[in-house]
């Protein structure tokens, strides 16, 4: 090695607070449950059982799990929205919605560097952010919209079977689509968004860990990330990130 490496001093930053981490992993669990049960409900396995109907309750259980998970999912989601106003800077709702030019600019930079594989300034990759980058934030924003669609259509379908007033609040949803059939189709299609998102998301988490070496994977466990000193300085008091503003 002829070239001398520029050794960065890393600062430990508490990025994901406990509530965010709990939200995240609960979300992962219930989503797995919802997708598995959703698949089953849409196309149940062939069980050429000799059992009597009274002795089994397969579809019943799948539906039960789906609805139970749906409640957890919904309230967890609500909680996350609330935390967007209460939590730390990295959990703030401003991290998700592209309202400023700066946000858009950063999205563009991430797009260039992480997706188009272009070189950043001075030929180096730019790790601008401390929490998630603007592009990731925006994708999560889209995800939240699909969460919303899924809750609306799901509770809309559930409303006529429910005895509690809460799901009944959603009875108007199928009416908007002219009936349950289309509502169900939309609910089914939206599921694919989650599956695709999760795969890409997990890949990207690994990608960032590999490319940036800041402990991305473990951050959703312990809450810490390790941020280069210069990035750390630049990120003080600004949201999302100062570099892109220039």
């Amino acid at each position: 090695m002829s070239k001398k490496l520029h050794i960065q001093k890393l600062r430990r930053v508490y990025v994901w607070e406990l509530p965010v981490r709990m939200y995240h992993w609960l979300n992962v669990l219930v989503l797995i449950a919802l997708v598995v049960t959703g698949f089953y409900m849409s196309n149940p396995l062939a069980i050429l059982s000799k059992k009597e109907a009274v002795n089994s309750y397969t579809m019943g259980w799948f539906r039960y799990i789906h609805f139970a998970a749906a409640y957890l999912f919904f309230f967890n989601f609500l909680f996350r929205l609330y935390w967007g106003f209460t939590g730390n800077k990295y959990a703030n709702w401003k991290q998700f919605i592209p309202i400023s030019r700066r946000f858009l600019k950063e999205m563009w930079i991430v797009f260039k560097i992480d997706i188009l594989m272009m070189k950043g300034k001075n030929g180096k990759s730019e790790h601008l952010s401390v929490g998630h980058n603007a592009m990731a934030g925006f994708i999560y924003f889209l995800t939240f919209i699909v969460f919303l669609i899924q809750c609306l259509t799901g509770f809309g379908l559930y409303a006529p079977m429910a005895s509690w007033w809460f799901p009944k609040l959603f009875a108007w949803v199928p009416a908007v689509f002219g009936g349950d059939i289309l509502t169900r189709v939309i609910h089914h299609w939206a599921m694919w968004f989650f599956i695709l998102f999760a795969i890409v998301h997990v890949y990207l988490v690994f990608y960032h860990d590999y490319i940036e070496g800041r402990g991305e994977i473990s951050s959703m466990g312990g809450g810490w990330k390790f941020i280069e000193d210069d990035v750390f300085e630049k990120n003080k008091h600004t949201t999302p990130n100062p570099e892109s503003a220039k």
Binding site: L5, I47, A53, M117, M161, W172, D180, I181, W192, I211
Partner: protein
């Protein structure tokens, strides 16, 4: 407005007179006086008395547009009340091309008479959809388009009943590409209550039930958000299906006439739309409780739901996405997207190792350096 259902609630003259404490003799005196006053012969007294004694039956106009007339057919299948009783005692069906004696000008005259004489009081029933393409020429009666006829008849109607899926959601002729622009009734009239009675056709007793409800309680039945009477459309076929225990148990017919079909297992996997279809089939059944589609071994095709013709293949459970070809059901496209994603990720990973070679190299070196330093 409908709620004062004036024709119904109006007592007959005789009832009115009786209520006020007059006798039959007084009533007859009044009749002869009125007969004379109207300039009629004495022999007409009996007739006038009769007319004043009998309650007018509620006038009904039943229009036929883009239809297959099976709604009319279903209506005459009603067993309680039977249709003869409805026609003779309960309503005055003044216009319906399917059953009326008069044709041509006499038929049109009958229509006009009721529209003027009972303005604001008659019930307008519509069977069939209205084609809007090409200025409405795809359905013409007596040289007029169906939209012209509907607009005229709707104006003086107390309430409108949209019979069947044709009138309430466009049914088969509005399936893609809807070449005649077949349009349901509620999209064409405003300011009038439209009672949708979907189904292809609706159950006969449901049709009779809607009319009888109006006559018995003097108001239109309570409607749900989509304008359907709650009395018959508040539950899914699935909720009252006698095969439901098999559904819950996960026991399904895999293909027609298989062992499971003979056992009467749930028809979900051969395409049953019962879980998304609001209708009374499971409870009231068809043809005076004889059977209903699922009982006869065929899945519900969702015939009372909007767009039920455009929801992908009939015998498949999976949901097709509207607008794509028939084979593009959600899961096929989903799997394709999944494959594409996997390929993209692999591609990206490889590109990363090449394109970001320096970055990765530096990180590795940095790591090795630290490891090295610690080893020293």
């Amino acid at each position: 407005m409908i709620n004062d259902a004036s024709v119904l609630k109006q007592p007959t003259y005789y009832e009115e007179v009786e209520r006020k404490g007059y006798s039959r003799r007084d009533f007859m005196k009044f009749v002869s006086m009125i007969t004379a006053f109207m300039g009629l012969e004495k022999s007409a007294i009996g007739q006038v008395a009769k007319a004043l004694e009998t309650k007018p039956r509620i006038p009904v106009i039943w229009l036929h547009f883009q239809e297959c007339t099976c709604c009319s057919e279903s209506f005459i299948r009603s067993s309680h009340p039977i249709v003869a009783d409805i026609l003779l005692d309960k309503i005055s069906l003044d216009y319906t091309e399917t059953l009326m004696a008069a044709s041509g000008t006499q038929a049109e005259e009958a229509l006009k008479n009721t529209m003027t004489k009972y303005k604001g009081q008659y019930i307008l029933c519509v069977e069939g959809s209205v084609p809007l393409a090409a200025d409405g020429v795809y359905c013409m009666i007596g040289g007029k388009t169906s939209i012209q006829i509907l607009e005229e008849a709707a104006e003086g109607a107390a309430a409108i009943i949209a019979w069947g899926s044709c009138a309430s959601n466009g049914c088969v002729q509005s399936a893609k590409p809807n070449p005649t622009k077949a349009t349901p009734i509620h999209k064409l009239v405003s300011g009038k209550p439209v009672i949708k009675v979907p189904g292809c056709p609706p159950i006969g007793e449901v049709m009779a039930g809607v009319i009888v409800h109006y006559l018995a309680f003097g108001k239109i039945p309570e409607l749900d958000r989509l304008g359907r009477p709650k009395a018959f459309y508040s539950k899914r076929v699935h909720d009252s299906c006698y095969r439901r225990p098999f559904y819950d148990a996960g026991l399904f017919v895999e293909t027609f006439d298989d062992e499971n079909a003979k056992k009467g297992y749930c028809l979900y996997k051969v395409g049953c739309k019962g879980p998304s279809t609001y209708n009374a089939c499971g409870v009231m059944k068809w043809n005076n409780g004889t059977s209903y589609p699922i009982q006869s071994g065929h899945p519900c095709i969702g015939c009372s739901e909007e767009n039920y013709w455009d929801n992908g293949r009939m015998y498949e459970r999976a949901s097709a996405f509207p607008g794509f070809g028939i084979e593009a059901n959600a899961d096929t496209l989903g799997k394709i997207a999944l494959g594409a994603t996997a390929v993209a990720i692999a591609g990206h990973a490889i590109a990363t190792n090449i394109g970001k070679h320096t970055t990765i190299h530096n990180l590795e070196e940095e790591g090795k350096e630290s490891e090295h330093e610690l080893n020293v």
